[in-house]
Every structure is written in structure tokens, then in C-alpha cells.
């Protein structure tokens, strides 16, 4: 697989505290990589190092197979970014903000109206950014990051502070990028639901360490349902199930069935009834991605 971003043992230490420790990020081409973690886990620090705004204490980061430290200019030429709060020049209009960047990026003038169209700011193009709402500033930031048609887009908490309609709009926009513009997107967030709705790959960071990295499907598999049976004398009931070849787990006050199909559940219940056990409840316990995320990050915290 071709990785657009790859970090090796990327580490940043502030005094004694490790903000980021031994990070091995792998972001495959054309994916939307959700970089997930609670606030203060090291997401922004990682992104700053990827963009060369900060030097790593140890380790390295490669983007497009080029070392970010050594070939920064070449890398940045193909990277668009939005780090934390939107950046803008308050005394300039939306148009002028983009013009100030365009002069450095050396792209044709028509790109300005194109990107403003993409983020739907055309109507306020000649208004000072000072008076923009947070959502509009955020969209201007996205427009700025798209100006030079980057192949990698790095967005740090892009929906922070947006209202619900702004979030939905941003989500639609981001989802379009890989297919329409052949971009790879790295998007960070502390909200799982947000990543869940956009990302195709996930990396979870907690206390500066990467505790999970795989496709979103792999993460969803962890969220599989479980069937819980509550019966009288569950110790014996569990043995009775095992004797019939039904796989189950004995818990403190309930039995967990490994089988989830309707037939499987029916068979287990029938067996228990036939054996004379009283079945009080048959429940489906869903572990949400949220639960998994919380579990993973709290395990990370224990370390």
C-alpha cells in the first residue's frame, strides 16, 4: 500500500512531559484518515510536526516519501492545512486574504473565485473577515488550504465551534475531496461520531501514544453486539449450554452468547427452557463505537 504520510518513532517532549511518544502513523493514499483522541492527547502537536511548525524531539515524519525536516518546501508545496483555530487577516476581505496567500503560492487568480465557490463564500468575497462568523472563517480557512490544489489536506478539528448545519456542510465537503480532487485527507477530532461519519481509516491517540490504527470497518467490528441471557442458577445453565455445544460465556450474573443469529439465540433459549431453567431476560447489548473509544482511551490512561 502506498502511504502518503508515514512517521517513525515521532516524539515530542516538553520538559519532562511527552506530548507525543513513538508515533507510527500510516496514512494510505486516497483515504480520509480520522485522527482521534481526547483533548490534550497530542493531536495538534503531531500535526504541527507534520507541517514543520515544530521540530520533533526524536523520530521522523515523511510525507510523499520526503522527510518533512529536510525537504520542507517540497512537501509543503503539495500540502494544504488548517491548524486549530482558523487563521486569517482580519483587516482584509475574504478575497484579499486569499490574494495574500496566492502571491506566495503562485497560482492563477481564478483559483480564488474557484475555492470561494467550493466553500460557498462567493457572496461575501468582498467583506472584511473581521465580521465573519466562526463558521465562515473556518470555511475561508478551508478555501485557503485548497488554493494550490494540494494532494494532502491536513485539517485540525475543522468542525470545532461550528453549528450543526455548518458541521454537516463541512462533512459533505470533506467527503468529496478524495474522489473529486484525488486528495488524501488527515482530519483530527475529539469526537468519535464525527470521524465515524467521514473517515475511512482511524488512528486513535491517547496520552501521546497511538493505541489503535486501522480501517474504520476494523474498528466497527470491535463494536459487535452481544446477546445477554439472564436466568436463574446461571452457573448450571451455562454448563448445560456448553454440554449442548452452544458457545457461551459465564459472567457475574448473566450469560453471554457468542452466537448472534436468530436461530442460534432461539436454540439456546429452547435448550434452557427444556432443561427447566427460568429465562428472565434475553437482551441485546450493543457496544457503541463511543464505548470502544472510551474504553481504549481509558486503558491508554492507565498505562
Amino acid at each position: 500500500m502506498e502511504y502518503i504520510v508515514e512517521t517513525k518513532k515521532l516524539t515530542k517532549r516538553f520538559g519532562r512531559e511527552y506530548a507525543v511518544e513513538d508515533l507510527h502513523l500510516k496514512i494510505p493514499k486516497g483515504e480520509i484518515y480520522g485522527f482521534l483522541g481526547p483533548n490534550g492527547a497530542g493531536k495538534t502537536t503531531t500535526i504541527r510536526m507534520l507541517l514543520g511548525l515544530m521540530k520533533p524531539t526524536a523520530g521522523s515524519a515523511t510525507i510523499f516519501k520526503k522527510d518533512v525536516q529536510k525537504e520542507k518546501i517540497d512537501v509543503l508545496r503539495k500540502v494544504g492545512s488548517l491548524v486549530e483555530n482558523p487563521s486569517y487577516y482580519p483587516h482584509l476581505t475574504a478575497n484579499e486574504n486569499l490574494e495574500a496567500l496566492r502571491k506566495i503560492l503562485n497560482v492563477p487568480k481564478k483559483r480564488i473565485s474557484e475555492v470561494l465557490e467550493i466553500v460557498r463564500l462567493t457572496e461575501v468575497a468582498n467583506k472584511r473577515v473581521k465580521g465573519f462568523s466562526l463558521g465562515m472563517k473556518q470555511r475561508l480557512g478551508i478555501a485557503a488550504s485548497l488554493l494550490h490544489e494540494p494532494k494532502l489536506l491536513i485539517l485540525d478539528e475543522p468542525t470545532n465551534g461550528l453549528d450543526p448545519s455548518g458541521i454537516i456542510e463541512m462533512r459533505h465537503l470533506i467527503k468529496r475531496l478524495p474522489t473529486e480532487y484525488q486528495m488524501t485527507v488527515l482530519i483530527s477530532s475529539h469526537l468519535l461520531s464525527e470521524i465515524d461519519q467521514m473517515a475511512t481509516c482511524v488512528g486513535i491517540i491517547s496520552k501521546g501514544k497511538l493505541i489503535f490504527q486501522d480501517s474504520i470497518e476494523a474498528m466497527r467490528k470491535l463494536a459487535k453486539q452481544k446477546i445477554v441471557l439472564k436466568v436463574n442458577n446461571h452457573e448450571n445453565a451455562w454448563r448445560a449450554l456448553l454440554a449442548k455445544g452452544i458457545k457461551a460465556e459465564n459472567n457475574q450474573d448473566a450469560i453471554f452468547l457468542h452466537e448472534e443469529s436468530d436461530d442460534g439465540v432461539a436454540e439456546a433459549v429452547q435448550t434452557l427452557v427444556a432443561e427447566g431453567y427460568a429465562v428472565y431476560r434475553v437482551e441485546e447489548e450493543k457496544r457503541s463505537l463511543e464505548d470502544i473509544f472510551l474504553q481504549m482511551t481509558s486503558e491508554g490512561n492507565l498505562k
Partner: protein, 247 residues
């Protein structure tokens, strides 16, 4: 790449309503020249009226206006970057920090140069309106104005450095005012005056001798040494600071 950064810098600054600041010092010089009457030597053949008026104006201009205005500009070119994450955005573009620093510094030097030129225009306008009949001392005024510009290099570098460190607009300005005021004392010391960055433009501009043998009171080699030395110190100090700064 450097030129495009410079263009971008000029674009951002141009939109900051700077014309009033550029014109402030020349206009004040002009008004002061017009209102202050009674130069006793006017009409006296031994002293050139232009030169007298020029040296008189230099007192307020190079001692006060120039260092204050260049400080305002240094704060301005950093202000819009400090305000709302501008540094972050600028430095994630394909630019090196060295070139960004150079572009901002070059822009400041160009602005100081423009102000110096406008200052000459102000002097010339006043003299013309008052009907000075002596020959315009072209050589002395140009050398003085150009020398003052070069002598401002270290000061401007120092002002840019300070403006990059402090996020607030007011702090570098306050520090600048604080150090500008004692300049009047510093210039009286032959030993320490030349080393005081705020005094250097004044020493260069004011020290034009009547006798034409040496146009500069302070010998060139000493000027080169002190101004050049402090330029290297402040320019590279600021640049290294900026290159290492975590954004």
C-alpha cells in the same frame, strides 16, 4: 520565492491604512518649518539657509519621528500575523522562515527609505515657500539622508525582532518610546552614543560638518564598524530567534 513573499507582505501592509503613518513625519516637519519663523541667520550670507533649516529639523525628525515611526511599522508588519494565527498560515506555505524574515525586514527598510525621501521633499517645500535664495546643498542633504537610512538598519532589525516576540501591538511600541526618549542624552556621549541603536540615525544625519573636507562628523570606518556590527547582531539575532520559534 523571496519576491513573491515581499509582494504579499506589501499587499497585506498596504491594506492597513498606512499612508497616514508614512506621511506623519514629513508633514510634521513641513508644518514645523512653516510655523517656526525667525531664523536669525536668514539673509546672512555666511550660513546656508537650507542647511540651517535642515539641521534644525533633523533634531526632531531623526531623534524622535524616525525611530518612532519605524517602530510603528515594525509592529504593523507583525501585528496582522499575531492577530489571528497568521504566522501559522504563512509558515505552512512553501516558504522558509529566513525568507519571511528577510521580506518583512526589506519592506521596513523600503518604507524608511520612502520616509527619508519625503522628508527631503518637506524640507525643499518649506525652503521654496519661504523663498530661500542660497544654493540647495544637494550633496550634504543626500549624504545625510542616505546615511541616516543606513544607520537605521540595526534599529529596524531590533524593532522587528521585538515585534516578533511580543504578541501585543502596544508592548514593542511602548518599549520603543521608552528607549527613544533618552536618545537626547545618549547623543551627548561621544563614547556611548554611537552604540545606542536609537541614536545612530541622528548621529549620521546631524553630524554634517560645515567644512566640506569631511562630510560626516563621525568617520566612515567607525560608522561601518558600529552600525555594521550592531546590524549583524540584531539582524541575525532576530532571524535566528524567528527560525527557532515554535509556532
Amino acid at each position: 520565492m523571496f519576491l513573491s513573499i515581499l509582494q504579499s507582505e506589501w499587499f497585506k501592509l498596504r491594506k492597513s491604512k498606512i499612508s497616514a503613518i508614512i506621511l506623519a513625519a514629513p508633514i510634521l516637519t513641513f508644518l514645523m518649518g512653516l510655523t517656526m519663523d525667525g531664523f536669525e541667520f536668514i539673509g546672512d550670507d555666511e550660513v546656508n539657509d537650507w542647511l540651517l533649516f535642515f539641521l534644525f529639523s533633523n533634531l526632531t525628525y531623526s531623534l524622535l519621528f524616525l525611530p518612532l515611526i519605524s517602530g510603528v511599522f515594525a509592529s504593523l508588519v507583525c501585528r496582522y500575523e499575531h492577530q489571528a494565527g497568521g504566522w501559522k498560515q504563512l509558515l505552512t506555505l512553501p516558504v522558509t522562515r529566513g525568507k519571511v524574515f528577510m521580506a518583512k525586514y526589506t519592506l521596513l527598510l523600503l518604507l524608511v527609505f520612502v520616509i527619508q525621501m519625503l522628508y527631503v521633499v518637506a524640507i525643499f517645500s518649506v525652503g521654496t515657500m519661504k523663498g530661500y535664495t542660497d544654493a540647495f546643498p544637494m550633496a550634504i542633504i543626500w549624504k545625510s539622508v542616505f546615511g541616516g537610512w543606513v544607520a537605521a538598519f540595526p534599529l529596524v532589525a531590533l524593532q522587528l525582532w521585538m515585534s516578533m516576540i511580543w504578541k501585543t501591538f502596544a508592548l514593542p511600541l511602548a518599549v520603543n518610546v521608552f528607549f527613544t526618549l533618552p536618545t537626547i542624552l545618549a547623543v551627548n556621549s561621544e563614547t556611548y552614543g554611537p552604540y545606542y541603536p536609537w541614536a545612530q540615525p541622528f548621529l549620521m544625519m546631524y553630524s554634517v560638518e560645515e567644512s566640506m573636507d569631511s562630510v560626516f562628523y563621525v568617520p566612515w570606518d567607525q560608522v561601518l564598524l558600529v552600525v555594521g556590527g550592531s546590524f549583524i547582531l540584531f539582524f541575525f539575532g532576530g532571524m535566528i530567534y524567528f527560525s527557532r520559534k515554535a509556532i
